[in-house]
Symmetry: C2
Subunit: 313 residues, 2 copies
């Protein structure tokens, strides 16, 4: 007998990772969204409740990232039944921690568990992308893919995405500092120039290639050199009060690099484990000096990605 209800957890994620705008992200297991999906005889998708740290979200399925993802799944698979779901948000809205992606991912993973013919992960990615587009106004995958797959994830392509989990050097951790303020993804995208100077393009591509290469070869010196965004961060950092102080403090405390998580305002740093507590303390203090309260975590950059917690297979 097919299970009729399942609950899935989808982790938060840091998009962009400084040098991989729209293509790179890593999962943050410390927080995430939980989505419970129930199969209904009635067609369509309904959202019964949204609770947790961000309850003020649209309940109309087509305007909700999770709802839209399940609508996309229903349509693509021509499902003869509908879905009812409830969402418990663990990721604050507008934090830059991939909350909309996590809800979409949680929804498709939970829904997949109640399908008669479960879909491969890559298909789930495509459904979740449809959902994410509602929140960000564009089809991008830098939060969806790490939340679904887990770890540091590169996605190449949109129509036929290739997903690559990239190894993170052992002992490297991420420090995540979320200042208590709201930044909309659409707004943060809107301020970006439509072009990149050729010289910045060359620098950024060098950093990206160096970062990827450094991850595959445990080359912390190269990661330190490369984890530096010369394209997006200079345009966005003014949206985050104290950004420069926080970044400088992180680097001074030994971070390999420090930048904006996704569209912000959350900031992240990479650090060897021994320095991670000092990096966190420095970043929190720098925000604090401006009177900005924060939540903060030190996390390993590995995760199983989204998974069914109850019900389903």
């Amino acid at each position: 007998m097919t299970v009729r209800e399942a609950t899935a957890f989808a982790p938060a994620s840091v998009g962009n990772v400084a040098i991989g705008f729209d293509i790179l992200g890593f999962s943050v297991e410390a927080l995430g969204d939980r989505v419970t999906v129930r199969r209904t005889d009635a067609p369509g998708v309904t959202i019964r409740a949204i609770e947790g740290v961000a309850a003020n979200l649209p309940l109309e399925a087509a305007g909700n990232t999770a709802g839209r993802a399940l609508l996309a799944m229903r349509e693509a698979l021509a499902l003869p039944f509908g879905f009812e779901m409830s969402i418990v948000k663990g990721i604050p809205l507008g934090s830059g921690l991939g909350g909309s992606a996590a809800s979409a991912v949680g929804a498709v993973v939970a829904a997949n568990a109640v399908l008669d013919a479960p879909q491969p992960q890559l298909e789930l990615l495509k459904f979740a992308m449809q959902g994410e587009a509602v929140a960000s106004g564009s089809l991008h995958v830098d939060n969806i893919a790490p939340s679904l797959y887990g770890g540091l994830v590169l996605t190449v392509g949109i129509e036929q995405p290739r997903v690559k989990q990239i190894p993170v050097p052992p002992g490297v951790q991420a420090v995540i500092v979320h200042p208590h303020m709201f930044l909309g993804t659409r707004e943060a995208r809107a301020i970006l120039a439509k072009t990149v100077a050729l010289s910045d393009f060359v620098w950024q591509t060098a950093h990206l290639a160096g970062f990827i290469s450094g991850c595959y070869t445990n080359d912390l010196d190269l990661i330190r050199t490369s984890l530096d965004d010369v394209v997006i961060e200079p345009q966005r950092h003014a949206l985050i009060p104290g950004f420069k102080d926080v970044r400088a403090a992180a680097i001074l405390a030994g971070a390999l690099g420090c930048s904006i998580s996704g569209a912000g305002p959350t900031m992240f740093a990479w650090s060897v484990a021994a320095s991670a507590p000092a990096v966190r303390e420095a970043m929190v203090a720098a925000f604090g000096a401006r009177g900005i309260a924060t939540d903060h975590w030190i996390v390993d950059i590995e995760s199983r990605g989204a998974r069914v917690e109850s019900g389903g297979s």
Copy 2:
């Protein structure tokens, strides 16, 4: 007793490799330049002769890539002696196969063999970069680094460059087709727009990251998807008669990718060894259909890089 004269071979190279403009290149062992350097009591650098396939080059040291590289070495190391050199060019001028870089690399490698205190490879890279700047009008390393180190090479940074040799999947070969025409690097650079559209930036970075990741993981599918230049090639291909036909023929014959070598007009393809002869034949035929004669090679993408062949240590 210190050796007074040495001859070094420096291989040709394919710069850019489609998706690594100014940062990525691979060596082409099939052709290269030979530079003989002799220590002289008189200070300064003199070029006695330039022979081979490209003899019509400046003999004045400051205006010659190899001469300028040795002038940079003399100055940086405050050498109390001078150099006299002769160059045998194996790489045609204006072919896009890194001829100016190879002369500079050959010169510093040969000169290094007659120093009392030989320098590390990274210092030689910096001297050769000074030479390359004479030819191209900019400090870039995408030919210098692979000619010096060998193989597929990423360089991050200019002032303090980090050089990374990236593994190429076993069994992958490069097809190199040099049409008999001349393209100046300065001209090919001058036609490039000074900015890159943000959407092209995202695509190209995805392809670059995918390519690097594919190389580390022997993922030929990802390399095939990623070896596609959406930024530089569309601006430059018009300089190469028949470009689109040649590229299409290579792909149809099974190439993983096909693009311009450096600033052109040489074109390269990557291919599994089994398909390499057909790829070569297709590319040569496509140029031939336009009445353009070619030289062509199938090479392994590995090399020891530049080395002393006689004299020195």
